[in-house]
């Protein structure tokens, strides 16, 4: 909101220069957005927050703050002070039929009004704050509103049909022609004023064309009233027009300035017109007014909350400058009543705020808090996620952060599930659903980067969501994708190696992979149908599924092979937390033997390892697949597997004979399965 420095200076005995004013107002009251030069004047653009509007949306309101900050004298403007006689009902009868939508209504009838332009200095002042000067009457209503914050409206008295004004609410389908000349449909329930024939005012927003001031006007009825803020908000929204008046009404106003605003308008008209106006009479509708009640404040609480030692004598002085009335109740205790123009003071903390900002937060010295040395609680999930981030990075993966919102037809479509949470009011169809999977975002990242990078390793750790029985469900989830550079036969195993390394870094070494069947995977893991049917596995620890490892089905994404690992964070946390125990470093040397086998293509390496392990005896410490081969020379349907067999005993050095016995047993068992031994050797 704009404020003229020159105008503000009318109410403060000595006012600082604009730049200093900017600093002071910002430190103690409101944020000053900027200062603009308007001729000799400076215009301050002040960002008033909703709770400031009731008392500071006017030049006197801001001037009162300035006076309080700078400890200068503040004075209200001069008003017409002669006694105003009661306006006979024969001149005008105002009736309120709304019961509860009006909380104050004051009017005054003036005669001998001459419509002339306002003085140049006034026109300039109005222009400086963005209001166009029209004539003395209209300018006076605007000037008073900008000065006191109270909107007032001027009617051409002779155009009020039937000498009646009825305050009522608009019925469905009613229309009004307002001052801008346009006819607009009124929202049902909007507050209107009506004369005998038609609507004359859209209360709190804009006057009606029917009784507007013209150049021929010489009798003027002015009113100042308080209308219900919620009805005005509704109406301004419906007609799409926020005016200076409605802006003030919607934030809630107290009626303290209604009568003063009329008296001030008469004063201004007398000053700006060739000859004084004649005041026929005034009227007022009676309403019960809400009063600010006393609030008890204690200095100890004020000082404790601010954290500064504010002297007892300062407190009533500071509050007094802002118009608060303090009554001492005891040592360092007061009853405080907020001024009539404040409706935002409800509790002790509101008053502490007034004291604090006037005392100045720059004057509050920072003090380290005194607190119990309580150990910060651990957050296991966050810690696991952060540990995984580090491990992913060490394995060459980069972290992405995707939107949690996505389109109904998400990319790729195969993933879209009907349990996804939908927004009631998305700003765009593209972001109208909440993600239930991290795959889509990741795949979009892959697709967008595909021309920029040959290969890619990306990961994301974040939550996924879906509709639950009683409300939304959310799960912590992790995903990594690996897009190999060019064609790579071993890409699946590279992805698997990364997955194993990641888990190993987390202390999870006892994983096993198994084929996916539908019982293994449930949300938030994706359906098996988006996976390559022969390149997909569930990652398990004991009987717990902790994730999946798969190649994306080419029907889902064809441009490049994409290898995905997904981890269920809650399950992972469960297995990571199991205790980790020291194992003794072997004292006796290991003996390594290699064997190579020729087996059918369908036989899994794991099946062979399982058999070797079961036959190897307790001296067999480890089995390691180190070579794998397929080729025409060994037969289309065959593959060759080579293993290191590591024999070791914790209590003695093994002899060749002992190892030989174990090996023989293994070989016999392998032959029973029909798995041909291609060779065996002592490992180098």
């Amino acid at each position: 909101m704009k404020f003229s420095h020159d105008w503000l200076s009318q109410y403060v005995s000595r006012i600082p220069q604009a730049s200093e004013l900017e600093r002071l107002i910002t430190a103690h009251s409101f944020q000053v957005e900027g200062i603009e030069k308007e001729g000799k004047d400076s215009v301050l653009d002040i960002d008033l927050l909703p709770n400031h509007m009731t008392y500071a949306a006017s030049h006197t309101g801001v001037a009162r703050e300035i006076a309080a900050i700078t400890k200068q004298k503040f004075s209200l403007p001069k008003v017409f002070t002669s006694k105003i006689p009661k306006l006979p009902l024969s001149y005008l009868k105002v009736t309120d039929t709304t019961k509860s939508l009006v909380s104050a209504y004051h009017g005054v009838l003036l005669e001998d009004v001459q419509i002339v332009p306002s003085p140049e200095i006034i026109q300039k002042r109005l222009a400086a704050v963005g209001v166009r000067a029209i004539n003395n009457v209209v300018d006076a209503t605007n000037y008073v509103m900008l000065e006191l914050g109270q909107p007032i409206h001027a009617f051409d008295y002779e155009r009020i049909a039937g000498n009646v004004l009825t305050i009522q609410t608009a019925k469905k389908g009613e229309k009004v022609v307002i001052l801008d000349g346009e006819s607009r449909p009124l929202p049902e329930g909007a507050i209107i004023l009506r004369d005998r024939d038609q609507i004359t005012d859209l209360a709190g927003i804009m006057g009606g064309e029917a009784s507007a001031i013209t150049s021929r006007t010489h009798k003027v009825f002015l009113h100042a009233a308080i209308f219900d803020r919620n009805r005005i908000r509704l109406a301004e929204k419906a007609i799409g027009n926020r005016t200076e008046a409605s802006l003030r009404y919607v934030h809630g106003m107290t009626p303290w300035a209604c009568q003063m605003a009329l008296q001030r308008a008469i004063q201004l008209l007398n000053e700006w017109s060739p000859k004084p106006v004649r005041v026929v009479g005034g009227m007022e509708l009676a309403y019960k007014q809400k009063k600010n009640i006393p609030i008890k404040i204690e200095r100890s609480y004020v000082c404790s909350l601010i954290g500064a030692d504010i002297p007892a004598k300062e407190i009533p002085i500071i509050l007094g400058r802002l118009g608060f009335v303090c009554t001492q109740k005891g040592r360092d205790t007061w009853n405080v009543v907020a001024p009539v123009w404040r409706s935002d003071i409800e509790r002790q903390e509101d008053i502490v705020e007034e004291i604090g900002r006037m005392y100045g937060y720059d004057n509050v010295k920072s003090i380290p808090p005194l607190a119990h040395l309580a150990h910060p609680e651990p957050n296991d999930m966050e810690e696991l996620a952060d540990a995984m981030r580090d491990h992913f990075v060490a394995l060459g993966y980069s972290e992405v952060e995707n939107y949690a919102l996505e389109a109904k037809k998400a990319f790729p479509q195969e993933f879209a599930n009907d349990w996804r949470i939908k927004l009631a009011n998305p700003f765009s169809e593209e972001y109208s659903y909440v993600r239930d999977s991290l795959v889509r975002g990741m795949l979009r990242n892959v697709d967008e980067n595909i021309t920029r990078a040959k290969g890619m390793k990306l990961f994301e750790i974040g939550r996924v969501y879906r509709k639950g029985q009683k409300g939304p469900e959310e799960r912590d989830h992790a995903i990594s994708v690996f897009v190999p550079e060019g064609k790579s036969q071993s890409a699946y195993f590279e992805a698997k190696g990364c997955t194993e390394s990641l888990l190993e870094r987390l202390g999870v070494t006892n994983i096993w992979l198994k084929d996916i069947d539908t019982n293994d995977i449930a949300w938030p893991l994706p359906s098996g149908s988006v996976m390559h049917p022969h390149r997909r596995a569930v990652i398990k620890v004991d009987s717990i599924t902790i994730g999946v490892l798969y190649q994306l089905h080419p029907a889902v994404y064809a441009k490049r092979p994409v290898f995905v690992s997904e981890f269920l964070m809650p399950q992972l946390l469960e297995v990571v937390e199991t205790a980790w125990e020291f194992r003794a470093i072997p004292k006796y040397p290991a003996v390594v033997r290699d064997i190579a086998l020729l087996v059918d293509k369908d036989i899994r390496a794991q099946d062979v390892i399982d058999l070797i392990e079961s036959e190897g005896g307790r001296e067999l410490a480890d089995v390691d697949l180190f070579d794998y081969y397929e080729g025409t020379e060994i037969g289309e349907d065959k593959k060759s597997l080579a293993f290191h067999l590591i024999f070791q005993s914790p209590d003695r050095t093994l002899t060749d004979a002992e190892v030989g016995q174990n090996l023989a047993r293994i070989i016999t068992a392998l032959k029973v399965e029909g798995w041909g031994i291609r060779g065996e050797s002592e490992a180098k």
Binding site: T26, F30, G34, L49, P50, N51, H52, S304, L305, I306, A308, R347, E349, D350, E353, R357, Y361, V364, K365, S366, I367, P368, P369, L370, A371, A374, P376, E377, N379, M381, E382, R389, F392, V393, L395, G396, S398, E399, V400, E401, Y403, A404, L405, I421, L423, A424, N425, F427, V434, N449, R452, L458, F459, G462, R463, Y465, K470, G471, P472, E474
Partner: protein, 349 residues
């Protein structure tokens, strides 16, 4: 058999004339060969001599053996060194060639900033807490004293989840992380201090400095005497460590429903160090966070006895700190996930 002195002369000459490792090897065989070595033969013949002659000749022969072996080793070292130098000269490389790229991953800049922030707050005894991203209207608004008719609840500002049969509450992709406040306080009694962060959502148009999704980080400290002065200390400490010493803060009175008194906090403009520039509109300050003393209505919503506790809360956009820290001009880059963007950030905060 040659005399020892002849042998010595011959040997010294051969050693002098040796031009390569091979010559030295030949020399060694000539004189020290196990069977035919000339000096070996002399030494072997000693046993056939009488005691006196044996002692005399033996001493002399052993000295000669020692000297020759020493000279041989010196010479051999010299040649080995020479041939190694030649070998190394062949291995000369252009050290200005580019280094071979190692595939290294990168953390997202928001992760780097969040971790740094959490580390600072943890060092001051704050616990890291987490709360739901999609929460009820109560936790998002009512519990933190946002009145029913507050404009923030409008459809224009807040996303609402489409209602589902069987759900009792209305849900919101949270508009701030403050939903954590009452969620934590319902289960814990003061004194405590916590830090929490995460995704928040706003129904607003996106531009270079606004996104409909971003991250916030917030702190809450509650006790019996927690004050504005304490809040000021924690903020000063945080920003000095986060953005460098010399970063100052400025607290301005402001209004947020969840606090009273409330503040807007400015920090020294990072771009100009407070001198005034286009980033800070010449003011030297950048508005960065909202703060204040927890409103008693928030304590009430948590089930505390009103008036029993005091506390502060402050919250800020994590993305804005990231943008400031790395001089990132557009917030949308943070969720664009262009690999050329992601690869710029390393763990060097």
């Amino acid at each position: 058999m040659e005399s020892l002195s002849d042998l010595k002369k011959k040997a010294q000459k051969m050693l002098e004339n040796a031009k390569s490792i091979e010559d030295l090897d030949a020399f060694e065989i000539e004189f020290f060969g196990r069977k035919q070595g000339k000096l070996t033969q002399v030494l072997r013949s000693l046993s056939t001599l009488g005691e006196d002659a044996r002692r005399e000749l033996g001493a002399e022969a052993n000295i000669l053996r020692q000297d020759l072996l020493e000279a041989l080793e010196t010479k051999r070292d010299e040649y080995l060194r020479k041939s190694l130098d030649l070998q190394l000269a062949k291995e000369k490389i252009d050290i200005s060639f580019p280094g071979k790229k190692q595939n290294k991953g990168h953390l997202h800049p928001n992760t780097l900033v969040r971790r740094k922030a959490e580390a600072i707050f943890r060092s001051m005894g704050f616990s890291v807490f987490s709360s739901p991203d999609i929460d009820t209207e109560f936790y998002n608004f009512d519990s933190v004293n946002v009145p029913k008719d507050h404009p923030a609840r409008d459809m224009q500002d807040t996303f609402w989840v489409e209602e589902v049969k069987g759900w009792k509450d209305r849900y919101i992709p949270r508009t701030h992380v403050s939903n954590a406040q009452v969620r934590y306080m319902e289960k814990h009694n003061p004194p405590f201090r916590i830090v929490y962060s995460g995704k928040v959502f706003r129904n607003e148009a996106t531009d270079a400095s606004h996104d409909f999704q971003f991250n916030q980080i917030e702190c809450l400290m509650v006790g019996e005497n927690v004050s504005v002065a304490n809040l000021k200390y924690v903020l000063e400490t945080f920003f000095e460590r986060m953005l460098g010493s010399g970063t100052k803060i400025r607290m301005r009175p402001s209004f947020f429903p969840f606090v009273e008194p409330g503040f807007e906090v400015d920090i020294t403009c990072v771009a100009c160090k407070g001198k005034g520039c286009s980033v800070c509109k010449q003011s030297g300050w950048v508005e960065l966070l909202g703060a204040g003393m927890v409103h008693q209505n928030v304590f009430k919503a948590a089930g505390y006895v009103p008036g029993q506790y005091q506390g502060f809360a402050f919250g800020m956009g994590l993305d804005r700190i990231t943008m400031m820290k790395y001089n990132i001009p557009d917030i949308r880059l943070l969720r664009g996930n262009d690999v050329r963007f992601l690869e710029q950030f390393s763990n060097r905060l």
